[in-house]
């Protein structure tokens, strides 16, 4: 039977890519290991190697095709003795590879397809904006950008503006960023301002803080925030506390940024949400954007801020696109939440990738006649208590959504603030939807269960509405 070649994923979070080039023609013999095609995403270009021997039977996706979904059949390989006629029998087949079908066991097919590709569960970022961001003048032209590009542009603009700004971290220069967030910066700014470090988070975080104490404005990239644990002492004891310990004489303007939270299928040590860890600490500001526009505007603000800022990105969101205002200097103030969707029945509060679940749930709830007001916190410290409280005074109900663990989490903090400031307005207890109280499992089905879901948000919202 002819073998299908599927569109491969370059990373656990890749959903689609472009088929840049075919290196083999139909009818050409193929050996295992031959490079048959090149595919690309906004992050990288990769060669597709054949894993089977035979003849390239038919090219199903022509070169130059954009946005080919992962696992789409892109070609067929004919084994010895097979002819093009055998292809006809095969065209109706589903793309799911046979081996995976077997391994998935007794789970129903629909669940399997989702489990094999968990991020297909995350919708392509519903970015329904009910209220225009007050910072953007009416009539401003918008450009569509990925969050990755928006972050890169924010850094590039600030580096053009201020010679004291530089980027350091693992693979930020020559490699163009492990997640390609620093793409092109080395070429524009040179090796003195875009600095590859050895894999020594504790040391280079300390060097970054020391440089900031001397007046420079470093952007320290952690390949992921999981690795920032090695640098925690420098972040908390040196960066966050020095201004206070010096009686206001000496502080440090430094941004620590990188992907935070669950990626996909990378297990416990690479999937953790550190929102509550950093938001616990006075002296730090903590920013965690969801939209492309916020990613850009808030990163620019973080770089200009005279305090240490923890800038929590999300790997799953890097490739998501959104509208970014085409303004010369788009800076969003740190510390302001945004009402992304207006509603009167229940307030849903989240940030970063939690917004994915919150917004999807709001769509579902609307179908059942429940109008949810969705707040994107954007900044976790200082927290915009006023926006939360005003909304809860209107709705009387609140649900928090976070990928992190519930105990001592940001949701717990929000619940406490609502109780302190709007107790008399509450018609139901504040409810938390969070990551489950376990280290992140690897297995696809368990991982999905460990994370919050839109269904859980819907359930929680209905519960507080007594529906």
């Amino acid at each position: 039977m002819p073998i299908q070649v599927l569109m491969p994923a370059l990373s656990p979070t890749m959903e689609k890519g472009n088929l840049a080039k075919w290196l083999k023609k139909e009818g050409e013999p193929i050996k295992s290991g031959d490079v048959i095609a090149e595919i690309e995403t906004d992050k990288a270009t990769m060669e597709v190697e054949a894993t089977d021997e035979g003849t390239l039977g038919k090219i199903l996706i022509p070169e130059g095709t954009a946005d080919v979904a992962v696992n789409t059949p892109i070609a067929t390989i004919l084994a010895d003795g097979e002819t093009a006629a055998d292809l006809a029998k095969d065209t109706a087949k589903t793309p799911a590879p046979a081996r995976q079908e077997k391994a998935a066991g007794s789970a129903p097919p629909a669940a399997k397809a989702e489990a094999a590709q968990p991020k297909s569960a995350a919708p392509s970022a519903p970015q329904a904006v009910a209220e225009p961001d007050p910072e953007v003048p009416a009539g401003t032209a918008m450009v569509t950008q990925t969050i990755r590009e928006a972050l890169r542009d924010a850094m590039a603009e600030e580096m053009r503006r201020d010679a004291d700004v530089f980027v350091m971290g693992e693979e930020v220069a020559e490699y163009q960023g492990a997640y390609k967030v620093t793409q092109g910066l080395l070429q524009e700014f040179g090796p003195k301002r875009v600095i590859d470090t050895p894999i020594t988070e504790h040391g280079f975080a300390g060097i970054g803080v020391g440089a900031a104490m001397a007046g420079l404005k470093p952007i320290v990239e952690f390949m992921t925030f999981n690795f920032a644990m090695q640098a925690m002492d420098q972040i908390i004891n040196s960066a966050a506390k020095t201004l206070y310990m010096s009686g206001g004489q000496m502080g440090c303007s430094v941004v620590f940024r990188g992907p935070n939270g669950a990626a996909a299928r990378v297990a416990a040590q690479h999937s953790q949400d550190y929102s509550s860890w950093f938001s616990h600490v006075p002296g730090l500001k903590v920013v965690a954007p969801y939209s492309a526009a916020d990613a850009k505007g808030l990163l620019k603000a973080a770089i200009r801020d005279p305090n240490p800022v923890i800038f929590l990105e999300n790997e799953v969101l890097y490739g998501h696109s959104g509208e970014v205002p085409k303004l010369d200097d788009y800076v969003i103030p740190i510390g302001k939440a945004r009402i992304v969707r207006a509603g009167s029945h229940v307030t849903i509060i989240s940030w970063s990738n939690g917004m994915t679940y919150a917004l999807k749930a709001a769509d579902e709830l609307a179908k059942e006649g429940i109008e949810a007001e969705v707040i994107d916190l954007r900044t976790l410290r200082p927290m915009d208590t006023e926006t939360i409280v005003n909304s809860v005074k209107k709705t009387g109900r609140a649900v928090t959504v976070e990928e992190g663990w519930a105990q001592s989490g940001v949701g717990a903090e929000i619940a406490a603030r609502i109780m302190e400031h709007a107790f008399d307005y509450l018609d139901a207890p504040v409810t938390r939807v969070s990551g489950k109280d376990v280290p992140m499992p690897y297995a696809a089905n368990l991982e999905k269960l460990a994370l919050p879901s839109a269904a859980e948000v819907v359930e929680a919202a209905k519960a507080v509405c007594y529906r």
Partner: protein, 341 residues
């Protein structure tokens, strides 16, 4: 445990050498060194008294015995060079030219202290005097000091950063992460390892596989040197050599200062891990202040002139103690200031 070895600038570096007895000081240099070391000693003695009276709280780590290290190094530096150290920091601040009043008032937690009373013994800073703290986490100042050197490299000035740390901190992981990057990027930083033979109560021989700290940078190709840290002239000479190395763009340099602390690790340490005889022997044979005083007397400087220096130093210290006890505590409104700027 033996007293600090008299290492006459043992050279373990590549092609740098001095050897023999250190270059002589001029009379003015001797007098300046004496005065600066005396100021530190008298200041620390007074701090110890105030601690005993309950005027100073928490931790208080005295520098008595090690004065030649920071005074000699400071004589080797020039304007613009930065200094950073750990928690045994009073001597460094005074040597950098910070006022005794402000340091002592910080020790007593008063509003006139360098950190308005919010930092205490281990956390004082002076951007003006290029003193960057005052850090309480053992070894953290080494990465931070490397960052100060990074800033010099980035700006292309010819300033040098001096990062002081002890024989205990020399075993921390981030020290070697910093060594690697400093040499890789040729950052102008002098790592001064103040080997006072004890990390709190643990003798060097019980904690360090490689006890020659000048060689701690060997695997990164960082040159190092063992220096008699009780002889202010040897310290200054080594400091000048290291600074020249850094300013020439050759990267970091390690100086192991062989020194000794007479007092306990902190005020609450009875120092049972060493004998009284060991301490007395160092005091008698190698005291950094007595060395200078004896040389000055031999050079026919009058007792009277030396007494005048004593008196001047005592006046400064007494005034600082008086201020530190009469200055009010910080305004309660200060509790919430300086968290952000």
């Amino acid at each position: 445990m033996a007293a600090p070895k008299k290492a006459a600038a043992q050279d373990t570096s590549q092609g740098t050498s001095s050897g023999g007895s250190p270059p002589k000081f001029t009379r003015e240099q001797e007098l300046a060194a004496l005065r600066d070391m005396l100021l530190i000693r008298r200041f620390e003695e007074k701090a110890g008294q105030l601690y005993g009276m309950g005027a100073i709280g928490g931790f208080c780590h005295l520098y008595i015995g090690q004065e030649a290290v920071v005074v000699g190094m400071q004589m080797a530096l020039k304007d613009g060079d930065q200094v950073i150290t750990g928690y045994r920091d009073h001597g460094h601040m005074l040597a950098c030219g910070m006022e005794a009043k402000g340091v002592m008032a910080e020790l007593t937690g008063r509003r006139g202290g360098y950190s308005k009373g919010k930092g205490g013994s281990m956390h004082m800073f002076s951007v003006e005097k290029k003193f960057y703290g005052g850090h309480g986490i053992v070894g953290a100042q080494v990465s931070l000091g490397t960052g100060l050197a990074f800033a010099n490299w980035y700006r292309g000035n010819d300033s040098v950063s001096v990062a002081y740390f002890g024989d205990g901190a020399a075993n921390q992981g981030q020290v070697y992460e910093s060594f690697n990057m400093a040499e890789l990027w040729k950052l102008p930083v002098i790592y001064v390892i103040e080997n006072n033979r004890y990390a709190m109560g643990t003798a060097v021989s019980r904690a360090s596989a490689q006890q020659d700290f000048s060689r701690r940078g060997a695997s990164f190709n960082i040159p190092g040197k063992q220096v008699d840290g009780m002889d202010v002239r040897a310290v200054k000479a080594a400091g000048e050599e290291a600074a020249a190395w850094c300013r020439a763009g050759k990267g970091p340099f390690i100086l192991e200062m062989q020194t000794y602390r007479y007092r306990g690790h902190s005020m609450s340490d009875p120092a049972k891990y060493r004998t009284r005889e060991e301490v007395e022997k160092v005091r008698h044979d190698q005291d950094p202040i007595e060395q200078v005083r004896n040389r000055l007397l031999a050079a026919k400087v009058s007792e009277q002139e030396l007494k005048a220096i004593d008196a001047e130093v005592r006046d400064i210290v007494n005034a600082s103690a008086e201020f530190a006890q009469s200055d009010p505590e910080p305004d309660v409104a200060e509790l919430y200031t300086d968290v952000y700027r």
